[in-house]
Amino acid sequence: MGKTLAEKILSQKSGQDARAGDIVIARVDLVFLQDTTGPLTARQFQATGFQKPANPKACRIFIDHAAPSPSRELADDHIFLRHFARETGCGLSDVGEGVCHQLVAELWANPGDVIVGADSHTVTAGGVGAFATGMGSSDVAIAMALGQTWFRVPETFKIAGEGDMARGVTAKDIILYLIGQLGADGATYKSLEFVGSAFSKMNMEGRLTIANMAIEAGAKVGLFPSDRVTRDFLKAGGRGARYQPIQPDADATYERVVEVDISRLEPMVARPHTVDNVVPARELKGTRIEQVLLGTCTNGRLGDLALAASILKGKKCHPETRLVVAPASRAVFKAAIEAGYITDLLDAGAAIVTAGCGPCLGLHQGALGKGESCLSTSNRNFKGRMGNPEGFIYLASPATAAATALRGEITDPREVI
C-alpha cells in the first residue's frame, strides 16, 4: 500500500512503517524557538535538568516577534535568550534578520526534514517539502534536549489543484478560498498535501504562502511534493546538494480529496474575526480601511513586495489610509531596495518597519485603535490579534492590499491593474 508525503517522511525519520493513526518517535532535523515562546521553552529545558541540546547545531533561536524590543520586559527576555544561546550552543538570529519561518525556508529547511518550532506557523517549511509543525514550549524544549519527539501520524487531505490563476489572483487567494471551504477547524490534526498542475507549477514563494496558512484550517502540516521547483530554489540558495525528490505514492490512502479549479478563483478576503469567513474581495467594496499591512511570514517575500510596488508605483496611498510594510527577512528587504520596490513603496507613502513579525501579532509597529480596520497580508484576523479587541482585521493578498491602500477601501485588485 502506498504512502502519503507525511507517511513517507515520518517512516524515514522514525525507522518504522509509519501509517496514519500510528504513534511514532521521530528524529528532528531542526528545532527552533522565537522570542515570545522562547523564554518559556528555555526555562522548561532548564527545569527538566538539561544543560545541552542533543545537537546544538540543529537548534536555533530567533528574535523576530518583538524586534527591536518595544518594552523593557521584552528586552530582558531577549537578554535571557541570547545568554541561553551562548550557554547551549544554539544558533541565534537576532533583531533585523527576519521572521523565523522565512529564514528557516531561506537557509535551513530541506525536503524530507522533520522540523519543530515553538510557533504555529512553522508549517511554512512544508512548502519546501519538510514535515514542519508548530508545538508548544514544553514539546520544543524536550525535542531540543532529546533530538526527537513523538507524533501521531496524521491522516491526509489531498488538495488537487488544476488550471491557471486568473489575472489578479495569487497563491494567497487560493489558500483563503480553501480555508473558507474547509473551515477553521476543518482539517484539525490532518496533513494537507498540495498536488496537481496548479501546485506543481507554482513558484516557491507561493508554496510557502500556502503552507504557512495550513494551520488556519487546523492542519498539522501543509506539504508540497519536492520537485524541480524545490530543486531550483535550493540551488539558488546554495543548497543544491540537499535536494531529494519526494512524491506521494499513486496508491496512497487519503481521508479526503478536495479538487479545486484554480482558474475559476478570484481575489478573496477573510473578514473579521475568523480566517474561514471568506468572500470575494469585490463583495466588500466600500469597506473603509485605516491601515494596510503588507508583509509577514505569509506575504512578505520579494515577489509580494514587487507585486504591491507594481500597483503603487507613481501613485499615492489614500490620505486616510496608512500603509505599513514589514519585509519577511533582511535578505528580502535588501533585494527589494536593490530592485527599487522599497523606493516605489516609500514614494507612495509607505512606512517600512524592521524585517520581522511587526504588527501581525499586536505587539508593536501598528496596533489598531478603537474601531479601526486593517487589511493585512498576514495569516490571522482573530479578535484582538493586532493589539486591540476593538479592531477589525481583513486578510488578503499583496495585490488586494496595494489596491486597498490606493483607494482607502477594500478594492478588488483587478480594478487597478
Partner: protein
C-alpha cells in the same frame, strides 16, 4: 472525582482571546499574566473563577498560536479541566503537557453556572444541576501517561525519554 462550576464560552476561542499578544511583555511574569486569563473573551472571568471550576467551550477551543502560556494561565487560574466539543491540535498537546485535562464531549448540553462532577477514570461528566450525564472521548495512552505524571517535564524527568505503549 473533580467538582466545580461551569464557565461557558463559545466556538473558536483563540489563544489571542485566552492570552493576547499585546501582553507578551508579561510572559516572563506568569502571576501577572495569569490575571488576564481569557480577558478578551470575558473580562469578568478572572475575577469569578474558583479553584476546581471548569472552562466549558464549543468547537475548536484554543485555535491559533502555539503559545503554551494559554493552557498555563488557565491552569494557574485553578481550572481543573477544559471541556469542549473540539480543540485545536497544538492547544490540546500543550494542555496535556501542562497537566491540564482536555475533555471532549457534547458541551451544548451544559449551561453556564452548572455544577459539574468529572470522573476521569470512568470518562464521565455529571452535570449535577441538570442531571445530564456525558461521556468524554479517550485520551491517547501516551498523553494519559504524560497527564498522569503531571505534565511533560515531570514525565521526562521520570522516564528520561518517550515511552510508547506496544
Amino acid at each position: 472525582m473533580i467538582k466545580g462550576k461551569a464557565h461557558k464560552f463559545g466556538d473558536d476561542i483563540s489563544t489571542d482571546l485566552i492570552v493576547p499578544g499585546r501582553l507578551a511583555h508579561l510572559r516572563s511574569n506568569l502571576p501577572e499574566l495569569a490575571k488576564h486569563v481569557l480577558e478578551d473573551a470575558d473580562p469578568t472571568f478572572a475575577g469569578r473563577v474558583k479553584p476546581g471550576d471548569f472552562v466549558v467551550a464549543g468547537k475548536n477551543f484554543g485555535m491559533g498560536s502555539s503559545r503554551e502560556h494559554a493552557p498555563l494561565v488557565i491552569k494557574m487560574a485553578g481550572v481543573s479541566a477544559v471541556l469542549a466539543r473540539s480543540v485545536a491540535r497544538i492547544f490540546f498537546r500543550n494542555a496535556i503537557n501542562q497537566g491540564l485535562p482536555i475533555l471532549i464531549c457534547d458541551t451544548s448540553r451544559i449551561s453556564n453556572g452548572d455544577e459539574l462532577e468529572v470522573d476521569m477514570a470512568r470518562g464521565m461528566v455529571n452535570d449535577i444541576t441538570s442531571g445530564v450525564e456525558l461521556s468524554f472521548g479517550k485520551i491517547p495512552p501516551v498523553m494519559m501517561a504524560i497527564l498522569g505524571s503531571g505534565g511533560l517535564i515531570p514525565y521526562i524527568q521520570k522516564y528520561k525519554g518517550f515511552q510508547l505503549p506496544d
